[in-house]
């Protein structure tokens, strides 16, 4: 690092999660460019920064409202709940962590699934919730994904999964690892019925999630700037004892290396998804509203 870099670095906005010090919920500061944005404008822009196109992390509910036809989403009924079968406890017990996460996010676990209409076409939808224990995949997430895939095999409707996850849920030990195989196995069955599966990688998608169903889409899209990789950047830096190049493991990097089909701005995601689904499903019923 030259001394000039050091000066440049100082001018750059601070990265990462920083508590907003703006009173009220009316204004939001962009994590990337530090612009102060009017919340209503930001929401109207699908929570994409109006200045720098930074994609804010969003909840499954927000995503549903941005992508799917208004009021068309019906959530799957399976009320699966995680249990602490290993009696796992680190700085906090798994049980406590689950309770806290439920309180914080309002959901039972890190995956929401159901059926929705995409520009008039019925599709199966799964969305990971990063705000619930880092979107980690334990038995419940793995089972829910597998059931969603099985639903797609049955109803023959296209499958869309939005990923956002740090990987396997360590608190469930080996069984969380096995969810990688379980979900991937289910996808091999989906292959045989010719139902398209589109995987949309959102920030971040790493570890056991990226090394299973996330990277197995017939088409793989990614939101701009999303962190996508097998190992986390910190682990890699510690292993190779080097600073990682800029943009490493970001969506654009993966596109360049041939790992994904396209990087799509969230505001264009609905159109790109609609077109892809239409081109892959012979029985596309979009617009006509047939099912």
């Amino acid at each position: 690092m030259s001394i000039l870099d050091w000066f440049n670095k100082k001018e750059k906005p601070e990265q990462g999660i920083k508590k907003l010090d703006i009173p009220g919920d009316l204004w939001v500061k962009c994590y990337s460019c530090n612009s102060v944005l009017y919340l209503k404008d930001l929401v109207a822009n699908s929570k994409v920064c109006l200045e720098c196109q930074y994609h804010f992390r969003i909840t499954p509910q927000e995503r549903i409202s941005y992508i799917f036809d208004h009021g068309s989403f019906t959530q799957n009924e399976n009320q699966l709940k995680s249990i602490d079968f290993l009696n796992f406890s680190d700085t906090e017990s798994y049980k406590k962590r689950l309770e806290k996460a439920t309180k914080k996010s309002g959901s039972i676990d890190a995956f929401v699934s159901g059926k929705a209409m995409l520009s008039g076409q019925a599709v199966n939808v799964g969305i990971m919730d990063f705000s619930f224990m880092g979107g980690s995949m334990g038995s419940v997430v793995g089972e829910s994904i597998t059931r969603l895939i099985e639903m797609a095999i049955k109803n023959k409707l296209p499958l869309l999964i939005f990923t956002s996850s740090g990987g396997a849920r360590m608190q469930e030990g080996i069984l969380s690892l096995m969810q990688m195989a379980k979900t991937s196995a289910a996808l091999s069955r989906l292959d045989s019925v010719g139902v398209p599966y589109i995987s949309i990688l959102c920030d971040p998608t790493t570890g056991g999630t990226s090394a299973s169903f996330a990277m197995l889409g017939d088409i793989i899209m990614a939101e701009p700037g999303a962190l996508i990789g097998f190992a986390g950047p910190r682990v890699i830096e510690q292993t190779i004892r080097q600073k990682l190049p800029k943009g490493f493991q970001r969506s654009e990097f993966l596109l360049e290396h041939g790992m994904i089909d396209m990087v799509v701005n969230r505001r264009e995601l609905k159109d790109k998804l609609t077109l892809s689904v239409r081109l892959l499903s012979p029985k596309f019923s979009g617009k006509q509203g047939k099912r």
């Binding site: 396997a168 030990g173 069955r189």
Partner: protein
Amino acid sequence: MIIKPLEFEKPIHDLYIKIDELKRLSQEGQVDLAQEIKKIETRAKTLKKEIFAHLTPQQILQIARHPNRPDSFSLANLICDDFIELHGDRHFRDDPSMIGGMGQIASHRVVIIGHQKGHDTKENIYRNFGMPHPEGYRKALRLMKLAEKFGLPIVTFIDTPGAYPGLGAEERGQSEAIARNLKEMTGIHVPIFSVVVGEGGSGGALGIGVANRIYMLEHSVYSVISPEGCASILFRDTDKADIAAEQLKLTAKDILELGVIDGIVKEPLGGGHHDWHCQAENIKKVILKDLASYKRKDTKEITEERYEKFRSFGKFMDESKTIKKGD
């Protein structure tokens, strides 16, 4: 060869040093110490039994990672009457941390694939400490397809700290390579048998582990993350690796209880690192039994069974509020 003893092996090691000394003495000085030697030998054996019956997860981890632990390539050669190694993924390069080849065990022709660690620094650098790059997984898949084409059952030996976390690995799609294997292995038409022979580290282990029958050697481990990694992420303290090792439930006994593996393969008393032949023999027995029993199964049965096995993994509470295992 003298193997440096692990901390908890020292009392046993000391006794064996004494035995050697007495043996030498009795040879040189023509004193008959046979009885004395026998006594100590019995004591050493009892002590060994005692120590190895009460190993902690950390101690088991040390054995699983022992530098003299029998490696996949040696095991393949010891188990097979004939073994011929095959190389390369046909895309990028040959990954020395993943070995594979064809061989014959008694009357059965098989394809064997395994993670490959080294036994010293030089070997380990060449083998990348048993941490494959994407090309390793692609090589493994290529060999599995070869096996499928010619109807040869597949045996995989799992022994890796994990898939390599590095620049090139990410550039070439480590995630995709592992994910692809998980999916493709589900549908392979020939039976797959996996044995965790050392360290079963995370997705890097599972990447060749989607099998009809999965076994673990007595002193091997299988885990979603290394205890060190878990300690640094969840405990925020790398010194807590010992506690993490206990919490993660990674020993063969624990994994069997969780229903992920089909059985535990006995190791020679004192651990496989003292007796490679016995280790190989024990594995061979188990595999031969499976090879015989799967000979009669047809393709559909084989793939169906493998699918159902993995489909059932998971523990959670269902609407009915009862603890359910799988579906």
